[in-house]
Symmetry: C2
Subunit: 670 residues, 2 copies
Amino acid sequence: MASTATTLKGQPLDRALLDSTLRRRLFYTPAFEIYNGVAGLFDYGPPGCALQANIIDIWRKHFVIEEDMLEVDCTVLTPDEVLKTSGHVEKFADWMCKDPKNGEIMRADHFVEDILEARLAGDKQARGQKVEEDEDAAAENSDKKKKKKSKAKAEAVKLDDAVVQEYEEILAQIDNYHGDQLGELIQKHDLRNPTTGELPSHPVPFNLMFQTAIGPSGHLQGYMRPETAQGQFLNFAKLLEFNQNGMPFASASIGRSYRNEISPRAGLLRVREFLMAEVEHFVDPEGGKKHDRFHEIEHIELVLLDRHVQLSGKTDLKKMSIGEAVKNQVIDNETLGYFLARIYLFMKRIGVDESKMRFRQHMANEMAHYAADCWDCELLTSAGWIECVGCADRSAYDLTVHAKKTGAALYVRERLDEPKVIEEYEVDIDKKLFGPRFKKDAKAVQAALEDTNQQERECYGKTLAEAGKFTIKVPGVGDGKVEITKDLVKIERRKRTVNIREYTPNVVEPSFGIGRILYSLIEHCYWTRASEGGDEARSVLSFPPTVAPTKVLLVPLSTNPAFKPFVTAISKKLRQLGISSKVDASSATIGKRYSRNDELGTPLGVTIDFQTVKDGSLTLRDRDSMVQVRAEEDKILDAIKAIVDGTKTWEDVEKELPRFVGQELEVEVR
Amino acid sequence: MASTATTLKGQPLDRALLDSTLRRRLFYTPAFEIYNGVAGLFDYGPPGCALQANIIDIWRKHFVIEEDMLEVDCTVLTPDEVLKTSGHVEKFADWMCKDPKNGEIMRADHFVEDILEARLAGDKQARGQKVEEDEDAAAENSDKKKKKKSKAKAEAVKLDDAVVQEYEEILAQIDNYHGDQLGELIQKHDLRNPTTGELPSHPVPFNLMFQTAIGPSGHLQGYMRPETAQGQFLNFAKLLEFNQNGMPFASASIGRSYRNEISPRAGLLRVREFLMAEVEHFVDPEGGKKHDRFHEIEHIELVLLDRHVQLSGKTDLKKMSIGEAVKNQVIDNETLGYFLARIYLFMKRIGVDESKMRFRQHMANEMAHYAADCWDCELLTSAGWIECVGCADRSAYDLTVHAKKTGAALYVRERLDEPKVIEEYEVDIDKKLFGPRFKKDAKAVQAALEDTNQQERECYGKTLAEAGKFTIKVPGVGDGKVEITKDLVKIERRKRTVNIREYTPNVVEPSFGIGRILYSLIEHCYWTRASEGGDEARSVLSFPPTVAPTKVLLVPLSTNPAFKPFVTAISKKLRQLGISSKVDASSATIGKRYSRNDELGTPLGVTIDFQTVKDGSLTLRDRDSMVQVRAEEDKILDAIKAIVDGTKTWEDVEKELPRFVGQELEVEVR
């Protein structure tokens, strides 16, 4: 996808350079690379691992602890019966098509997207317009181990204006197409695989779940979960009890999920194994799904891309306060709006660039059929706008289907403050006559009668009074219709007093893809600065101190043994303060060591030099400005703690402590 | 397995009571229970989840941070080529046998163990000795959803003394048998399935890895990893570079692994999906695998059960300092000894009962063939001694096989302080004559010559000098033997100067099963106390404050709204201090609420009562002694912080703050 990605400082983002930095510094790396790798699988090295742990830690504080959620940890292995009930076995699929000549398997929507984008780029070339470099392709090419993949290349061919508009409209709603529609687009626009020149086969669904067999007999089919949600739903009754029957409440889970992507690409953005953090907030569907902390966030303004704008083939964003959006029904309800705001605050807290964040509403086709509303928090990266968090109102769907399948009590029983008198039609069946009349079908007919709703009962009751009989549909019995005469049933409207209300909660689900957030955050924090010589761009990752993998780098000026006891002592003190630090005692110049460190995103550097040996004073360096201050050890440690805890900024520290210049020079001279 | 398990206070451990407490309080619960569950899969509820997170947090501090290890996070999905190379596809199996009548599949060693133990118990009955209750069976029975399993029952039949001794010797080394040997035992001792009365089939290997297919073509076979280790080995070269080529160093990983157990049982102790924490410490094999922090731990005494004692069919423990054990070669080397001590310290730190911990050495058959030595840290539970940590010296096996298979440089290149002169036999091949002489076999013959070791070269060189020719084995060429004449090769002893030493590091691997540790810790911290009335035993989980799922329970005396602002304020202050707390504002009596809380293992309780409303003072309650103190808010918060951080004990706090009596009474009176 063409992109106009920029760095934190507004420079054009050089994706190949960033990619090489991240691999060199072992943020992440293709898994099994010495075995030529497996597409869509990545390992995190030490800095990536620490970054991930810090994001998760903030997530837990921001959601689980702040809102007193019930955290659970469920298994990944899931028997197929559960996922049949949830609908995943039947419906959790992408559309794939195959090249008839070389057998290449492609994801149909990505295929259509690629070819149309290439044609649009070719059109721009023909019209003499500037074409953005394809960053995604650049990054792919920089990965020399990657197998050759079909990738459409732009050829300078001018298109009719109407065709350009049509392509753009297709691309704006590419997530909205069903397999047949994608097949039609392929035929209509003659979209051919650039490698072979062939039209791919008609798209067929490919289930994205990894399948396995549980137990030695091989008879129990299972899958690796595609989301953590199901485990939370299945434990609903236990969690409600644990919560002493209090409603609303939320459960939360952090864990891996798996999707057997057809053709993973774009690094961490589309992988087959990934860490998710999901909240399932259970709420009473009556009363408009209000949220009692809504007032705390209603003033927050979000950048929204709603369903209607997208359907018109556009991508115009509007900024709106949550309060207004819920009032105008742009966002369905308060609870959903509350979580969108909380997602926004979380993203800001970890250091996401607010100007590269938007909330996109799902279109009707894109959403699961049961969902009431769904919004994605998308972050802008060199691969375009990336869905990083989905926030769906799943209604009562999951609890209902599991309860129906298993008979488990997945509902809330609420004692009413005041008993309520309900007037309803009731059906009394004369069981003595029922058996002899319907024989083996008696149960099915009875069930059909009991399953009628109030409206039907009113109607049947009337018919019964007027005609002395009525006809009811009972699938599988006779011709599917059964006549019921008035000796068999009585249908009456009666009053009864109810003390307990039973209801199935609705679920609002914010679901976070941690890997995608992590990668997008890296791009948002990335920039380059000229090296001393000025010829080479040096990478810097300006993570906020809270998420930075390491907080402090300890640098002895040289390998002189006099520095060692100071390094050891400061290292220990930082550990006691709970601040992660690393020592770089290598023989590289201090400038090189700091520049290595800037690539790792460590916000602070402490130098131990000859002055330290004399008077115990230390210097403290800020990664972003490269400014250094010098003070006695205690003051430096206090400053570090304040910056890491977020009680002070570097600017505060710089004002309080005397500036220091000269170390790097000192090295040059020695 | 029969057991004499006791609680923290030495009471007989009532496993059924403990089990019901853990399920009621949602520490963990069978996964998919509303779908009748799947054996060996468990979900953790909020307290289990928090306990697990705290154990992991301490593990990370104790190992990763303290020793500056390189943490990585690798994928679970693993292509089969990797696990073929590591030997898992061929060898990672248990022995299973099948009942010929009902088709029941059993794990062969467990089957033999069960029947022999039942016979020994029957013998004791016949001799009129006391038989310990089978706690494991009791716990299984308490799980009503579990499918009926064959479990041998003791019948009072007296055995010959010699037979008793033979059975006991078999049981002492039950982990030591190969499938054929287990088959022989079944035949020899006529071990029949109690359900059918049949002899099971001869044991066959069953691979324990879960298999799946990666990608849409279905051609790429993969497995869910059985250990986290392989991902660490595959990244060795990158980690070494990240560590600026410094040796020794360790990588570490925390993540799930999977084993398709034949017949999981015993709750969390044998499951199919589990959390592991593994360290791979890479060390130079030369110089006796010394460890430079060995002096810090050599005085520590461990309870050891070595290989020789077990082979003699006994289980006598000896206590020995690590220093002594390494000196006497009971433990193979310093590095291995160092990690055993660190494991011991970790276990103590999380609250494991030292008197229920031992280190058992693997017997030769039990160990992987490449391992130099292996010790398990075992914890005593109601299911007997449970392997919770394995600590193996894996030698250079893994790095060697992966390097050989892939050609990757999984070794260390070390610049020698002084160049070294090496005198070695070298083989010079006359390539011009080689081609014409051997034609298509030339390469194979050349490879065979180059693959010879020093001893062979010396021998061939002599033969060549004496007879003018020699014969070398070249599999696949001619009859497998090839004659080499002196015109083709020169073999000479020569001196050369070497500046770089290349070696493949050895690996010492402490590998932690977090679920087993968590469950054993629960048993070690468990006890009961009589309720007020005295008739009912109330469960208490005396976790140390650092691992306790929640640190503080906040209890308003009643539902009076005057208490609410205090609860909210204190809750917020504790959150700012990073101390997890829960509020129980239910209408249950304060005694009931505290007792619920003791079951959850929360060490401290704060009561907000009418005095609080008057003067802001609070009471603080100790879970274990039930003693309460009362002081102003700041002092109480300080005390909480000190106890949670481990800088003070409850005893310290009790001395400093005035004791408080009467709240529970106050409730009774109101």
